[in-house]
Symmetry: C2
Subunit: 184 residues, 2 copies
């Protein structure tokens, strides 16, 4: 739950941003498959699911704010080739890591909004993993190669995302491996 208007607005903006990130990653994942990079397609699908976890966490933190709102969110557009789409994905993740979530987190802390502090922290930490994975994928696709990938594991509690490995406990939220979803 949330008490202060500024944090409520930041939660709504972040919810709108995560919701749009989910959709563009699903579209770009399908495009990666069409472009001959099926493993990049799986990576997009897995990270889309992580953004869904963030969207759901932000939405639930807003449980006591009901009704219609006009939501303003930054979003990346463009339906290009897979290198361009990965560049768009990296730009969006890095904006969240460097600008959006640090700013929203410091306001939430100032306003002692515990639910928002937690959901912003989970998202910020998960986006760092996303940026790294998309950068590796971009390097590979620029050389004309799909990424090597057995599976991608995503924490359903915080959105933490890891390739070809299953941690015993999530390094961000501390939940055990049963809460992870596997994409392959």
């Amino acid at each position: 739950m949330v008490e202060n208007d500024m944090t409520a607005e930041n939660l709504r903006s972040a919810y709108g941003g995560e919701s749009q990130a989910y959709q563009r990653y699903m579209v770009w994942g399908e495009k990666a498959e069409e472009d001959g990079f099926p493993n990049v397609g799986v990576l997009f699908e897995a990270i889309a699911y992580a953004e869904q976890v963030h969207a759901a966490n932000h939405f639930k933190a807003l449980e006591n704010v009901k009704g219609d709102h006009l939501v303003a969110s930054g979003a990346v557009f463009g339906y290009g080739d897979t290198v361009e789409n990965l560049e768009g994905a990296i730009a969006g993740e890095d904006h969240e890591i460097e600008q959006m979530y640090p700013a929203y987190s410091i306001v939430a802390k100032n306003q002692k909004e515990n639910d928002a502090i937690k959901t912003f922290h989970y998202a910020l930490e998960a986006e760092k993993a996303h940026s790294k994975l998309f950068n590796e994928a971009k390097d590979s696709v620029e050389e004309g190669n799909d990424i090597e990938l057995e599976e991608v594991n995503v924490c359903s509690v915080c959105g933490y995302t890891i390739k070809d490995e299953m941690p015993d406990y999530c390094p961000i939220c501390g939940e055990p491996d049963e809460v992870f979803e596997t994409f392959a």
Copy 2:
């Protein structure tokens, strides 16, 4: 593709709205299951998928508009019981049917934006089916009963949604039954 700023802005706004509708329906679907209405949960999940089809269609119509944009979209909030959530869903669908898509469509026609005309038309017609299905579900849940449901079929081209029936051809976009996704 899109040439005029006003239609591009309307496509982005509708994309933001559909993206957020997808996420709230997924959250509300899970809540319906927890509340003891699993078939309402399936209905939410199926209609969420229809909103994903709309989001993807709008996003692809914007293929030539690249980079960052601030997107302003109307969205419904609230994480209540399943009757309240269905009321929120109906309010959102009816806003799209009565206000948003008619306004965006008339501008797109005036600007001869053919891709936008098509994707707005598909969404507007599909939302009519959604509003009807959510209203039936609300009537049932208000009486304390889950809805009766075998399956929900959703057109992957236009988002048309129909319960317990598979049309030979989609009544909105005309595609054959193979393009439908089934939720049960």
